[in-house]
Amino acid sequence: MSTGTPPILEAHKISKHFHPHGWLRRHPATRAVEDLSLTLYSNETLALVGESGSGKTTTARMLLRLETPSSGSVRFDGVDLDKASRAQIERYRASVQAVFQDPWSSLNPRMRVRDIIAEPLAINGIIKTEIDTRVRSALASVGLEEAALRGFPHEFSGGQRQRIAIARAIALRPRVIILDEPVSSLDVSVRAQIMNLLKDLQSAYGMSYLLISHDLATVRFLANRVSVMHLGRIVEEGDTDATFEHPSHPYTRTLIAAARMVRPILASGIAAG
């Protein structure tokens, strides 16, 4: 995976400090992310794990340019985005998409599903005649019926809404999708469907995923590599299987132990099936 191929998306020593305003000014700045570097190669899934407040979402937002780093740089295809030309930024915007945690708030309730999926295509100058075909094919890839195109988001269940959000993200055939807790608001049975779907789409389109998650079981299933974040820094990184089997940082061990507590009893139940 990382051998030989050039990186697609890189964070180079990025930090994010939030400075309080107004009468809170005398409080110190929150150092959400500190000197963080990561590299995403083609066709791989890198997971960023950590508990709430560890800075993983802030990192994702900086990679999406929804947040400007206080220092450091983000590079796409080797180009520093702060020094990039307008055309390069546009290319980056079209190639890096996102799926967020909550499909109830990430879809505009006043738009029909067709328009939700078509919007990024129209913005990126895809010609009108082609938009319809692209929308239909995106919808088919996520396993929704064509009748869904005319519906509004509230007519769908949580899992179906997450499928719509994924369809929107893949419509532009991006090279990278940033998945911020893509399954944590979904039910167990639906969660499995969406996790399988994400895997299938990756092998069909050859995209890279940056997976933000607090759930280690999800990470084990989807990611090739994992970076563990704690208090704004990466404390451990490596191949997923190796990291889970031989965690070296105490924080990683705590996380895995907490996730594993259930295992002894569950194992027999699963083995039977």
């Binding site: 049975s189 895995i256 009893i265 569950l266």
Partner: protein
């Protein structure tokens, strides 16, 4: 109230029916639900969203949203007395007194403009008639019991000054302040991080042992069930489809739905290429099928499953299942 003889369960719910009244018609989100919770025992009520588990828990306390829903049938026996026949003012003495509720999000459960001390002492005044220095002392004791460091300072603090885990402890302190016998916890750990979650569940267990509490634990998370519950009731489309002691449920799930759910949980310790997944979706509460509600997603289903509702079968001393496969 008379102390109950030992053979009467702490909470016994019989054929509870809560209906939903909307423009789309009448729905049956809680459809003839029966279960018991004994003292010193935790019953897990497990199900996915829309299964009716939260509405069942709220209906037990008669806190179901009104007028959208109404309890139309059944009995809720608390130490043998039917709560559905109590007056509203009698019910208010039960809630926060003999039975207490802990909800998912501790930030919305607490009032942001009052101090923690204020909110604990309100319950102490209402349910135990404590005032002044005495109520202050008891409040400090309660915060100490839920392991809030420096409880005296904690009393003067506002909810936003605590972390999520600490806030849930404050909520628990309030829940315990009326000296309840039954605790109803609706997804109390869902908003907490895994490490914090483990500590909170340990604390809840310790308190349960000390006070002999019965707990009705509503959750969708099997790892929490494994850690916390003695028995489990699995809900699907408004009905309890299987009840079993926790170990039995994990070792040999009886209902196809339970089996499928357990199989679709990913494993931290193994890399799998594909997760087992249940196709389809549960039926709408407004249009329940005539047969088994799981039939259209079930790999074992035959014609009878689609046609007729399966009866409840006793398959062990504490095990029941609603499935035609167990009818000989």
């Amino acid at each position: 109230m008379a102390t109950s003889p030992t053979d009467i369960p702490l909470l016994e719910v019989r054929d509870l029916e809560t209906h939903l009244f909307t423009k789309r018609g009448v729905g049956r989100p809680v459809d003839s639900v029966s279960f018991t919770v004994n003292a010193r025992e935790t019953l897990g009520l497990v199900g996915e969203s829309g299964s009716g588990k939260s509405l069942t828990a709220l209906s037990v306390m008669r806190l179901n949203p009104k007028p959208a829903s109404r309890i139309v049938g059944g009995e809720v026996l608390f130490c043998g007395e039917d709560l559905l026949r109590k007056t509203d003012s009698a019910m208010r003495r039960y809630r926060g007194g003999k039975m207490a509720l802990i909800l998912q999000d501790p930030m919305t459960a607490l009032n942001p403009v009052y101090t923690v001390g204020n909110q604990i002492r309100e319950t102490l005044r209402v349910h135990r008639g404590l005032r002044g220095a005495r109520s202050r002392d008891v409040a400090v004791e309660l915060l100490d019991r839920v392991r809030i460091p420096d409880p005296k300072v904690g009393l003067a603090a506002y909810p936003h000054q605590f972390s999520g885990g600490m806030r849930q402890r404050v909520v628990s302190a309030i829940a315990l302040s009326g000296k309840p016998k039954l605790l109803i916890a609706d997804e109390p750990t869902t908003a907490l991080d895994v490490t914090v979650q483990a500590l909170y569940l340990q604390l809840l267990k310790a308190i349960q042992t000390e006070d002999g509490l019965g707990i009705l634990f509503v959750t969708h998370d099997f790892s929490v069930v494994a850690r916390m519950c003695d028995r489990v009731a699995v809900m699907y489309a408004g009905k309890i489809v299987e009840t079993a002691p926790t170990a039995d449920l994990f070792a040999a799930p009886k209902h196809p739905y339970t089996e499928a759910l357990l199989k679709s949980v990913p494993d931290v310790d193994r890399r799998t290429d594909r997760l087992y997944s249940i196709s389809g979706q549960p039926p709408s509460v407004f249009a329940p099928p005539s047969g088994c509600a799981f039939a259209n997603r079930c790999s074992y289903a035959d014609a009878r499953c689609h046609r007729e509702m399966p009866p409840e079968i006793q398959v062990g001393p504490q095990n029941t299942v609603k499935c035609w496969r167990y009818v000989s």
